[in-house]
Each structure stands twice: as structure tokens, then as C-alpha cells.
């Protein structure tokens, strides 16, 4: 791969409209398809709204964790099934995480790192809200 093509890929990273805010489930996950440079991929989207008034949720995030949306691989490398979006969201040792619904490994929402196995890391994507639209960079 030459420098020129690498640069080309980077410039092609664009914000795609993925779904609506109403498709999200507060304090939980949903799955969606995105188009990436490598082809279609399944992402797990987690929505941790900051404003407690938004839902009946408990959340009063600590400073530095104001982010409300996270996007990770939906593919669970331990089971080989596409189920990460259906895991329980929580926080462990200061990090927001999702627990795989099959074998219960934890993945950090911020960078996809598996807490039980240093060698395993899910891909992550930048994702944000634009009004009622959910945008993802891929």
C-alpha cells in the first residue's frame, strides 16, 4: 500500500447517517449495518444519555465521560456470533463496558478492549448525534 492510497482512505472516512435517536435504547444496545472501506459491517450501538430526565435511567456521569454514544463490533470473537449489541451495559473500574451475552467477557466501550483477554480488541467507530440523526464515521 502506498502513502497516497492510505491518505485516500483517510479522506474517504465520512460521517454516514445510521439511524434515528428513537431507534436507540437508553442504557442498552442495538445493532446496525454500516458501509466501511472493507465492506459492510455490523456495529453495536450503545446509548448512555447524560440527562437523567431523558429516561428513568440512573446516569450522572463523572467528568470526562460525557460521551453518550459508542459504536463497537457487533461480532463476539469468543462465540463467533453477532450478539454484542445484546449484552448488558455497565461500568467496571471506572470504564463503561458491555458484557457479552454468551460467555460474559467485558469489552470497554471507549476502545473495544476486552478486559479478560489483552489480545482481544473490538473495532470502534466514532459516532455522534446530530439532532435526531445518529451519525457514524466510517
Amino acid at each position: 500500500m502506498t502513502t497516497a492510497t492510505a491518505l485516500k482512505h483517510e479522506t474517504e472516512m465520512t460521517w454516514q447517517a445510521l439511524c434515528r435517536r428513537a431507534d436507540l435504547v437508553p442504557f442498552s444496545g442495538v445493532a446496525a449495518w454500516i458501509e466501511t472501506a472493507e465492506g459492510p459491517a455490523q456495529v453495536a450501538l450503545f446509548y448512555l444519555p447524560c440527562d437523567p430526565a431523558t429516561t428513568g435511567g440512573p446516569n450522572t456521569p463523572q467528568p470526562g465521560h460525557e460521551q453518550t454514544l459508542y459504536a463497537l463490533d457487533n461480532h463476539d470473537p469468543f462465540s463467533g456470533a453477532n450478539v454484542i449489541a445484546r449484552g448488558i451495559v455497565g461500568d467496571l473500574q471506572g470504564d463503561p463496558v458491555v458484557a457479552s451475552p454468551l460467555y460474559k467477557q467485558h469489552f470497554r466501550l471507549t476502545d473495544g478492549q476486552c478486559l479478560e483477554d489483552d489480545a482481544v480488541k473490538l473495532r470502534t467507530w466514532a459516532v455522534r448525534l446530530d439532532g435526531e440523526r445518529v451519525l457514524i464515521q466510517a
Binding site: V25, A32, G57, P61, V83, I88, G90, D91
Partner: protein, 839 residues
């Protein structure tokens, strides 16, 4: 290693094998070239449990070790090779196959059964009970026999009688003394023992001296007694005590006791210091020790003697042994501690307790001032043994009223707790493990029972100390704070039970509110996969709001979220409720049609339902739409909640049934369906005592009787099966339901997260008696409250699936992808035996 001196051990019984282990532990296999001779074909086996050989255990499972173990440590094991002579002049032992030089020699030849010198005692079919070969001979003879007699009513005689019973022989025991087990029990205890053993169909004849054995008429043999009375039998087993096998020692002119036995000193040395003796062949201080524990003590002393200069401590010596013992003979508990007859201590005083209804007898022998326990005798219930043994062995001062120690424990006998034991208290006498040793093992890092057993070997001999060891280990671990932190997780410094109480008392209805008021402020307060489902379960148990409501949905495990069971490929299985296992043909047809339409794999479950596998997430609402239309409701197979109430067909169809088990099962299932609990709950109802519904393996088991229902609680199958315990008998329908209401709600209130009723029950302080007091006698005064809470759950039941499919907002979740209706292309199925399964 050419300088290794030859060490020969003659005998590979329990004690001989223990000696080998002890030698290896001390590194003796590097100093000595060790050769072990065993007369039998078999490697050392567990003679204590020999009678289990007829109950299905084979030689292999009785074996104490493997040939590999010997080989690994360079020990030459020569089985099926009997030593026939010892030549002390040349320092050799002689076998039919050769001569073997020794530098040191150990006799571990054990004993032979004593066969009284009665004319006719060598007739064919007159056998002994000692080795596996003996047992094979007994079994072979028994094949053509209907009746059997055991000569000898002591410990071994009753063991043999049990074996004959196991072979379906009409069995009698003939004892010379006026009572059974004359060494262990007195006249009263002996009488009780006779009653109990006769009740098992074993004929007991005492004060019978056999004069001769001759041809019989009805049986093969006729025994003629001193008063010319006779007893006929096809098979006779002599088990009237043991005699040391000292022939080799006699032949080589070692010092022998007057009545046999190789004389040894405290170091297990015989009159020839090159030769040692251990076990039942050895005579110490004019006594033979016919139990395994003293034999093991001798083995340790002998190993120390052989390795004395290599030890970094004083060698252990043998200083006699306590012959206290507890046994279960023919299912009857017998225990004897110390001076059980009170004959060795002038001025001793006694307490005695006799219950002829329950057939229990207990006796205490105490010092004249009533402060020390000198001995004790137990017939019928050995539950008292451990505590008494500790008073006796530890020399612990008796309580004010020693009688309480042998009165029925429902009166609150003051059990000697593990904390009251001194460090010197013997826990395992087989392996010489004291409480101090257990504590040292824990201090060295052992943090559970299994590790303590591994490192100390406690409770790996006869196993009689298992309960005592567990209580000591538990207590010591607890006192070291091993289990102090009982926080649910990093978000809540509370136990599940505490959170339950908080939720109920403060009326907290959401996870958010609970986190805000009681959560750990150091965290992000999102919760985790431990506390969220636990709190969801508590909220459901208390308020029974639909679990798919917005406030609760983020708390649920995926199975609860989608009200189906996720399988390994991300698809789900669907289990509609089939209460009591009863289903109409019409509904059965619907299940088949739905399975066909959605290409589901079908399998019948252990809980008498039908499981439909392979449902895709996006198909679940449509599948349930059709099932609900046909009258099905959710089966909660996905929840920590009531699963099924299994039943047999009962009196409706079965000629043995005494009550309508299906009707009761359906009633119970509809009552408790939807009850969220710390773990899953399974029930069963059997229509008669044949128990076809396997109720005694369930959390709640109900069995019909002539007079109502018997209730069993806290059983389970699974990884660690546990029989349910009989809780109440002959209840009418209403009393049954009231009692189950209380038990289940008390479990929901007090159990830990993911704790089945069996573990909950085992951890309940006070055990079954406490549970009975709370539920049946309402000792906490919460009985009606528990019933009210259960009624509230019953009254608020609604099918979760029926609730969800009416709510478009909830159905939004049942999409594989929020921006695409394509199914997940990675779910690939293949066909097997006519159905689809994950590829």
C-alpha cells in the same frame, strides 16, 4: 544411587501401603532400594469399605493406589508373591521365586480371621471374610445357597452379615457372648442393637457356642450348639476376630507375644533392630490394634525410624492408640469412645439415655467430679460422636449438665463449636491431622476445603471426620475474614438480601433510584452485569412490573430482554408454558405448525415441555403472536423464576395413584408462574410414593399420600444433585399451598443471587429445623406477611409476551438491525436427523 540399601516391606495392605506413602514423603525411596511383596494379586485396597464390593464397587475402585505410583518412585512392587521365610543370618527373604537380600525389613503382614477350632470348620462352604478373594469365594458359594450364617457378632461379623444380606441370603449371626459387639456396647446397647438388626431380617443368636458342624438336612451344613440346639445353613462365614499373621516372625525366632503378635517397641522395632513391624501383626505393650488408624500411626513411626537421621525433627513414636470408633453396621450407627464400659476408671460416674421408640441409646462415662469425659457409647445415632470425641480427646471440661450432651438435640444440646476446640484436637485420626494442622494449612494459603484436604490429607482415610473438618475449615476461614466482603459488586456494598430489604422497606421501584440512594458514588453508577439482573429480579419479586418496561429493560440479561433463550449462534429458543406437562392435541398441532413455519428445531425438555430452537430475533414477535393466538403463554424458560411443575398422570389414569397429581401440578404452576427469584425454581408432583415425577430432586417436591400431600424442599439435580428433604406430611390442598407460599417467599427474601434453594438451605444457620420453625411454627412472626407477598405476585401476574406484543415501542427491540430488515447472514444452519441445527 548404587549405594541404595535394600529395604523390603512384606505386605501390601492398607498399613503397608501407607508406610510406602510415608517413606516417599520422607524421601526414603532415594536412600533405599525399596521392594514391596504382596501375597494377593491386588494392589493395596480399602478393606474398611470391603462390603461395598457386593454393592457394586469393583477391585479397581477400592484400590488405594496405582502401579504407576510405585513405578514413578522407583519402588519394586511384587504382587502375587508371598514371602515364605526370613533368613536373618544371611539377611534375606525367601519366596517361591527367589531370594532377596535386605538391609532393613518391615513386616506388614496384617492378620488372618480367627476360625474357632470346631470340628467341621474346614468343610466346603465354610469361609472367611477378609480379602477380595474371600469375597469372590463367598459370592461363588452364595450362587447355590439360600441361607448363610456368620460366626461372630462383633464389628467384622456384622460387616460380613451385611455382605451376606447383600447376596440375598437368609442371614443369621451367631455370637458366643451374651450380646452383639461385646467390645463396644453394654447389655442395654447390645439389646437395642439386636432389635435393630433383627428388624432387618437378620436372625441373631447370642450365647451360642458351636460344638461341631456336620451335614445338614434342609441346608448343606448343620451347626450343633452347646445345648444340642441346631442351626442349618448353606454357607458359613467365620468372622470371630483376628489373629496376627506372625508365622514368618516365628520362623525366624523374633520375639512373639504369648497370644501371638510380633513384639515391637515405640519405634516399631522388633527384637531384631534390622526388622520392624507395623499394623495388625505388631504387638505393642501386649496389645494388637485391629483398626486402621493405629496402623497408620505405626506406619508413620516406622517411616521416621527408618529415616531418623534425615529428619529435621524428633522422630514420631508409637505410644499406643485410642480405640474409639464409630461405625455404621447394617445401617445401624454404633460408636464407642474411650472407656465406654466405665470399667477402667474406679469412681467413674455414668449418664444413660434410652429411647426404645426411636431405638437410640447413649451413655456417658465421666470422672467422679463430673468434669471430664472418660468414655461414651452410642447406638442408633452417631451424630453425637464428634462432639463427645472432642471432649474426650481434648480433655475439655464438661458443661455444667453433661447429660445435655446425649439428650435429643432438638432440646438444644450444646454442640462444641469448632472455635472451642484446642489446637491439639484431633480432627482426622487416620492421617493424624489436628486442628492446629488445619489452621497451619489455611495460614499457608489454603482457602477452601478441597485445598485443605489436599495439603493435610485430612478426611481422605475413612472419611468419618468429613463433617467436623468442614466446620473447622469454615470457621477458621471466616475468622480470618476470608468471606468478609459480601458486597454484591463494586456498585453496591450490600448483599442481595440487604438490597431486597431496602427495596421493600423504602418502596424503591427503579434501579436508578436504588443506585442514587444506595449505590457506590465512586463508580459511574451504570451498574454492571452482576447487580443489574440481581436488582431486576428483586424489583420483579416485589412489584412484578413487566420486565420489558423502559425503566427495567436495560437491567435484563439478553434472555429476559428478548424473553427467549439465546443459543450459541445468537438465535433463540422458545418454550411456551405447558402447565403440569398436560397439553391438548390442538395445541400440540399448533406447536408443530409454528415450528414448521419458522423452521425451528424441536426437542422435548426434562420439564415436560417442548423447546423450539433456532428462532431469529426478528421472528420472535410473530412466533409469539401465533402461540398466544392458540392460547399459549410464556414459559419463563429464560428467567430466574419458576420453570415447570412436573407431574405423573396420578390417580386419573394410574392404577397406583392415590391423588390427582396433574391437577395439583397445574394448580401450583399457575400459582407460581412468573415468580422472579434468586435462581430458577423447579417443582414436581407425584401421585403416589412410586415417585414417577422425581419430586425429591426438585426445589419443591410434592408426593401424594393416603392422607394428603407430603412436601419436600430444597432438592435439585444439575451439577451437584441434592435430595429434597421431607418438610411436612399429610397436608391438605390449602395447607400445602400456604406452606409452599411461605417457603418460596422466604427463599426469595433471604437467598443470595444465583443461589439455588439447595445451597440456600445448606447455608441456613440452624438448617432444616430452623426453616421448619420459621415456616411451620412461624417463629419469626412473618408467616402471614410471606403469604400476602406471594398473593401479590400471583394477583399481578400477566404474560410478558402478551404484554410486549401489544406495545409497538417494545417490539422495536426485536430487530436484528435498526437500519436494515435483512436477517443476520452469519447465522448458518445445516440439516441433521430431519431438522435444522447450527452449522
Amino acid at each position: 544411587m548404587s549405594t541404595q540399601q535394600p529395604l523390603i516391606i512384606i505386605g501390601n495392605g492398607m498399613v503397608g501401603h501407607h508406610l510406602v506413602e510415608q517413606l516417599i514423603e520422607r524421601g526414603a525411596h532415594r536412600r533405599y532400594a525399596i521392594t514391596v511383596f504382596g501375597e494377593e494379586r491386588h494392589l493395596a485396597y480399602d478393606r474398611v469399605h470391603l462390603s461395598e464390593y457386593f454393592a457394586g464397587r469393583d477391585a479397581e475402585s477400592l484400590a488405594l493406589s496405582t502401579a504407576d505410583y510405585y513405578a514413578e518412585h522407583g519402588i519394586e512392587l511384587r504382587l502375587d508373591e508371598a514371602v515364605i521365610a526370613i533368613n536373618r543370618d544371611t539377611g534375606e527373604v525367601v519366596t517361591p521365586r527367589g531370594r532377596y537380600p535386605y538391609h532393613r525389613l518391615v513386616l506388614a503382614t496384617g492378620s488372618t480371621p480367627f476360625v474357632p477350632p470346631i470340628p467341621g470348620n474346614d468343610r466346603e462352604g465354610c469361609l472367611v471374610y477378609r480379602t477380595l478373594d474371600d469375597l469372590d469365594a463367598i459370592r461363588a458359594t452364595a450362587e447355590n445357597a439360600a441361607t448363610g450364617v456368620v460366626v461372630g457378632g462383633g464389628l467384622l461379623g456384622l460387616e460380613a452379615a451385611n455382605a451376606l444380606r447383600g447376596l440375598d441370603l437368609d442371614t443369621a449371626v451367631v455370637e458366643f457372648a451374651p450380646r452383639l459387639m461385646p467390645m463396644q456396647v453394654d447389655a442395654e446397647g447390645g439389646e437395642l442393637l439386636r432389635e435393630k438388626i433383627e428388624a432387618l431380617g437378620v436372625q441373631v443368636l447370642t450365647e451360642r457356642a458351636t460344638q461341631r458342624i456336620e451335614d445338614g438336612e434342609a441346608g448343606r451344613h448343620r451347626m450343633v450348639f452347646q445345648d444340642d440346639k441346631v442351626l442349618e445353613a448353606d454357607l458359613i462365614v467365620f468372622s470371630a476376630g483376628i489373629r496376627p499373621r506372625d508365622a514368618l516372625a516365628r520362623g525366624s525366632a523374633l520375639e512373639i507375644g504369648e497370644r501371638g503378635g510380633v513384639v515391637i517397641d515405640d519405634r516399631c522395632l522388633t527384637s531384631d533392630p534390622a526388622i520392624l513391624a507395623v499394623g495388625e501383626v505388631a504387638l505393642w505393650n501386649n496389645s494388637i490394634f485391629g483398626l486402621v488408624a493405629p496402623g497408620y500411626q505405626m506406619a508413620r513411626a516406622a517411616a521416621d525410624t527408618l529415616m531418623a537421621d534425615a529428619l529435621d525433627r524428633a522422630p514420631e513414636t508409637f505410644g499406643g492408640a485410642d480405640m474409639s470408633t464409630k461405625l455404621k453396621l447394617l445401617g445401624v450407627d454404633v460408636g464407642a469412645i474411650g472407656d465406654a464400659h466405665g470399667t477402667q476408671h474406679p469412681g467413674a460416674r455414668m449418664f444413660r439415655y434410652l429411647d426404645q421408640i426411636k431405638q437410640e441409646y447413649r451413655k456417658l462415662v465421666v470422672s467422679g467430679d463430673g468434669k471430664r469425659l472418660l468414655g461414651a457409647m452410642l447406638v442408633g445415632d452417631n451424630g453425637y460422636y464428634d462432639t463427645l470425641m472432642q471432649y474426650y480427646a481434648g480433655g475439655i471440661e464438661l458443661p455444667q449438665d453433661p447429660a445435655a450432651l446425649i439428650l435429643p438435640s432438638s432440646d438444644g444440646a450444646p454442640a462444641l463449636g469448632p472455635d472451642a476446640l484446642p489446637d491439639s484436637a484431633m480432627i482426622c485420626s487416620c492421617h493424624n491431622v489436628t486442628k492446629g494442622d488445619v489452621c497451619a494449612s489455611i495460614d499457608a494459603g489454603a482457602c477452601d476445603l478441597a485445598t485443605v484436604k489436599d495439603s493435610t490429607r485430612a478426611s481422605t482415610g475413612c472419611g468419618g471426620c468429613a463433617a467436623l473438618l468442614k466446620s473447622v475449615v469454615d470457621h477458621e476461614l471466616e475468622s480470618r475474614g476470608v468471606e468478609v466482603d459480601r458486597s454484591l459488586c463494586e456498585h453496591f456494598a450490600h448483599t442481595r438480601q440487604e438490597l431486597y430489604d431496602i427495596v421493600r422497606v423504602e418502596g424503591i421501584k427503579t434501579f436508578g433510584e436504588l443506585m442514587e440512594k444506595h449505590g457506590n458514588p465512586e463508580t459511574h453508577r451504570l451498574g454492571c452485569d452482576i447487580c443489574k439482573p440481581a436488582v431486576a429480579s428483586i424489583l420483579a419479586s416485589c412489584f412484578n412490573e413487566p420486565i420489558t418496561d423502559a425503566a427495567h429493560i436495560p437491567l435484563q440479561d439478553t434472555n429476559d430482554t428478548f424473553m427467549a433463550n439465546m443459543q450459541k449462534n445468537g438465535t433463540y429458543s422458545v418454550v411456551p408454558r405447558i402447565a403440569g406437562g398436560e397439553i391438548t392435541p390442538d395445541k400440540l398441532v399448533v406447536l408443530g405448525q409454528v415450528a414448521q413455519k419458522y423452521e425451528l428445531y424441536t426437542k422435548v425438555t426434562g420439564g415436560q415441555r417442548i423447546d423450539l430452537f433456532g428462532a431469529r430475533l426478528e421472528d420472535l414477535p410473530a412466533i409469539w403472536g401465533e402461540l398466544i393466538e392458540a392460547g399459549f403463554e410464556t414459559g419463563h424458560a429464560y428467567g430466574k423464576s419458576l420453570r415447570t411443575v412436573k407431574s405423573c398422570v396420578g390417580s386419573t389414569w394410574c392404577r397406583y395413584g392415590v391423588d390427582d397429581s396433574v391437577g395439583m401440578a397445574i394448580r401450583l404452576e399457575h400459582r407460581y408462574k412468573g415468580l422472579r427469584s434468586p435462581h430458577k425454581i423447579k417443582l414436581a408432583v407425584s401421585g403416589c410414593t412410586r415417585e414417577c415425577a422425581e419430586a425429591q430432586s426438585k426445589d419443591i417436591g410434592v408426593i401424594a399420600t393416603e392422607h394428603g400431600w407430603n412436601l419436600y424442599v430444597c432438592g435439585n439435580g444439575g451439577m451437584r444433585p441434592r435430595h429434597a428433604e421431607l418438610f411436612a406430611t399429610d397436608l391438605d390442598d390449602e395447607a400445602l399451598i400456604r406452606t409452599i407460599d411461605r417457603v418460596l417467599m422466604f427463599y426469595v427474601r433471604t437467598a443470595d443471587r444465583l443461589q439455588r434453594t439447595s445451597v440456600w438451605r445448606e447455608n441456613l444457620e440452624g438448617g432444616l429445623d430452623y426453616l421448619k420453625a420459621v415456616i411451620l411454627e412461624d417463629s419469626l412472626g412473618i408467616g402471614e406477611e410471606l403469604e400476602r407477598q406471594m398473593q401479590a405476585v400471583v394477583d399481578t401476574y400477566a404474560c410478558e409476551w402478551a404484554n410486549a406484543i401489544q406495545d409497538p415501542e417494545k417490539l422495536k427491540r426485536f430487530r436484528s438491525f435498526v437500519n436494515d430488515s435483512r436477517p443476520d447472514p452469519d447465522i448458518i444452519m445445516t440439516s441433521e436427523r430431519g431438522q435444522l441445527r447450527p452449522a
